[in-house]
Symmetry: C2
Subunit: 412 residues, 2 copies
């Protein structure tokens, strides 16, 4: 029956993978595509979480003049010496626009410029207010309640380092200089081609993978160029792989060793298939190559395999391109293995675990449970190819799915 | 001059705060509004990160019939006993739709139903394929390569616990049952009223706070009902506070003790002002109350004060309402204080810090630096009201701003 097939080089259909690449080799392949994207200018109000392309340097000094930072009375600090509850000292009221006269005070509010000649602001609780006269019942030190010209920020000071995600407070800071555009790294455009077949229940696995992949591409800083469902034959796959316009192409499904696993052959037809078959579970049928300088990653169609291969390889590449750095976006937490975990030597395995009282409890084996094992899990562990598994009590790193965690209250 | 003011109860303008609430009292006030929002049905493809309202239970079993999980030959495992490279055993090929005949095998691909009578799938690397006959060169155990009916998921199994954020993999799992709607908690609608004045540079501080608050409301699971700029006088503020339609109203700016600090009086005019003035820095002029059962939080207009009061109080309330839990969405990391930090007894202070070689280096004092101190910082620490500060070497919890961090490679 296999004689009926037209054989291409590296066609593994109905034969199996003769040799598999290690996870490490696959990661090295990914990291060869680590150039970050170019920069673009976007509106500041759309820039939350985007990666700042260049360091942000203060365009002016702040404050540009001496400025009150508390509400109260601007005055000369030296004239308040000796003021107290039993020795209230009178000051004539004037407005803050004109230079301060001797033994006078001007009502100021936080953020207003300081009248010339004043060097401090006395807060209201140190004063007894009257209509034309205010009595000080305490002294203030020089500089109290005042931000001197340039005290907060000198011109040309580095305020935000480049190549980090913009925080909400950064948007506020940039905006406070009257700037409403910002240079950020362009998001890599990711094409998703879903080549999966229907599941045993008649539902399209492609739909499951499509939703999952779209959400993860965005999480990792990419933008979905197009998400194309139901591309199943070799010629159509090849056409969609070769079409220009994306920074990265993901093909999901038809990557295995079955008769209809056309994705590797489609990639080989229009580019190169550099790796196919990786010594890992789930995700062992992952492939990588390129078409017209653009990296192409072949993800398995089974959703758990797809997820695992996405996170390790495709997500890493998107995080590299988007300037986020290659690391998995999961918090790492140490735990003791709560139940024996068996793994095959020669294959890196990933095991979903629950965290119960500091112990990592495996949720089935690497292959079992599909996405429901992920839904039940708090995170996953990796078992290196050199190990047969972990004995109960071994210390492991758990990659946890949720980034917000209860911490001790800071209020008391 | 104060005599010219029409005095309302709790009017602190030009007097100062007679007594301040503790941060703890303010947090208790917030937590009295901890009811989560009601549920709504939304499209599954828009549900990433939303909080699942009810536990998700499997509507069917999976797989519904015995199903191949590897590509290969479906057959009877007992008939492969004794097969080996020196003893290839022949099997007649048939299609997988009909019941398996004795000593026959059917080509299957992962995800296809298993032919009746078969109990295992031999992978391609255990077989020598021919046109009508396949020779097995190894034996397979019963169940190998097969998912039995209901093996992955029984009907009515709890798959996703309620009240947690939906992960990308959850969307895939739900979708794999052919479901495309999901019940999630409604996002609390947050009205943002910006009452700030122009900064000393002529730029509107309101703009800085508006961008910052909008981004944080979304981060904490809320939706911005409306973000209204430039509302400055008492009557207009009162009108915007009292207008129905939001789950929470934030007023930003005009909360202090200056002459134009109308926000507390506007709230008191249409509702109640329960707290005003909190023993904390930055953020000491924060106020809280309600109008028509709706909580209203008055945030200071200075951006760093606004940020701090938002995170501790407004953000906490939004996280409560949205079902995310009250905790600050920052990862906590222990560090040693690298330089003496001075703080006032009686006031809880927040200090921006950089993390350098495991040491927390303060970026100015609680009040200084504005948002640029946040931009330079890796996180912040809190200094309890009972302490005068921290000596170098003291261990503190740092709330870190970035949630993704380099971790040791898992690849080797």
């Amino acid at each position: 029956m296999s004689d009926a097939l037209q054989r291409e080089p590296r066609d593994v259909r109905m034969i199996g993978f003769a040799d598999r690449s290690s996870v490490n080799e696959a990661v090295e392949w990914i990291d060869r595509y680590s150039r970050i994207c170019d920069a673009e200018s976007i509106a500041l109000n759309a820039a939350i979480g985007r990666i700042l392309a260049e360091p942000f340097v203060s365009p002016t000094e702040d404050p540009p003049t001496d400025t009150a930072i508390t509400d109260g009375y601007a005055l000369r600090s030296c004239e308040t010496v000796g003021a107290g509850s039993y020795n209230p000292l009178p000051f004539s009221m004037q407005d803050y626009h004109s230079a301060l006269r001797p033994f006078s005070a001007a009502l100021v509010t936080s953020g207003t410029p300081h009248p010339m000649g004043a060097d401090a602001v006395a807060p209201f609780d140190l004063a007894q207010a009257g209509t034309d006269i205010v009595h000080l019942i305490g002294s203030v030190a020089r500089g109290e309640g005042v931000n001197a010209k340039g005290q907060e920020i000198r011109k040309d000071t580095l305020l935000i380092e480049g190549l980090r995600p913009l925080r909400a407070s950064d948007l506020g800071l940039i905006s406070s200089f009257g700037i409403n555009q910002v240079r950020v790294l362009r998001r890599p455009l990711v094409r998703i081609i879903l080549a999966g077949r229907k599941s045993s229940q008649g539902y399209k696995l492609a739909d499951a993978n499509g939703l999952m992949l779209r959400a993860h591409v965005v999480r990792d800083g990419g933008a979905v160029e197009i998400c194309k469902y139901g591309i199943t034959d070799r010629d159509k796959l090849a056409k969609w792989i070769a079409r220009p316009g994306a920074d990265l192409v993901l093909v999901c499904g038809r990557t295995g060793v079955g008769l209809d696993d056309e994705a590797p052959l489609a990639l080989a037809a229009v580019g190169t298939l550099d790796l196919h078959g990786i010594a890992m579970r789930p995700g062992g049928s992952t492939g990588m190559g390129s078409a017209g300088q653009i990296p192409v990653i072949l993800l398995p169609g089974s959703p758990l395999d797809c997820l695992c291969a996405y996170d390790l390889f495709a997500g890493r590449l998107i995080r590299n391109l988007s300037g986020r750095g290659p690391w998995l976006p999961y918090r790492v937490q140490q735990a003791k293995v709560g139940r024996k975990i068996v793994s095959s030597v020669g294959t890196m395995e990933f095991c979903q675990v629950r965290l119960i009282a500091g112990e990592a409890i495996p949720q089935g084996t690497a292959d079992s449970g599909g996405l429901s094992s992920v839904a039940r899990a708090d995170g996953f562990i990796s078992i290196p190819a050199t190990l047969e598994g972990y004995a109960p009590g071994a210390t492991v790193n758990v990659y946890t799915y949720d980034s917000t965690h209860e911490v001790e209250g800071i209020w008391k």
